[in-house]
Symmetry: C2
């Protein structure tokens, strides 16, 4: 089981994170920041880095780490 | 910075994970399983558990942990 963590690069606005922050503020919470990672747990013997770069991330806007 | 890990409960089909697995197989990879977690990193002094239950998860289909 390999874990791949994907998020938007710093400096690129993550619309879902922004909206989550806005919605929490509208509910009355004092939220300074929200960031969202997506974590893929993949069971395979094949080359995960290749899979990730072909399908799971867009290198223009995403950064990722494999663990 | 608190991290909230959210995923579909076991036994509940995660459509995005299923489609990711299908797409990787169509690209020729031998993938046994894909699971997806969403991780919210939230900077706040307020009650995170309450926020999560009010806005971020649906307890019928999601499980979560706060770290």
């Amino acid at each position: 089981m390999t874990k791949v963590y994907v998020k938007y690069k710093d400096g690129i606005i993550d619309p879902e994170a922004e909206n989550t922050k806005k919605a929490l503020k509208m509910l009355g919470y004092d939220v300074k920041n929200v960031r969202i990672w997506k974590v893929y747990e993949i069971e395979t013997e094949d080359n995960i880095k290749e899979m990730v770069e072909r399908l799971l991330v867009n290198p223009v806007i995403h950064e990722y780490k494999i663990e």
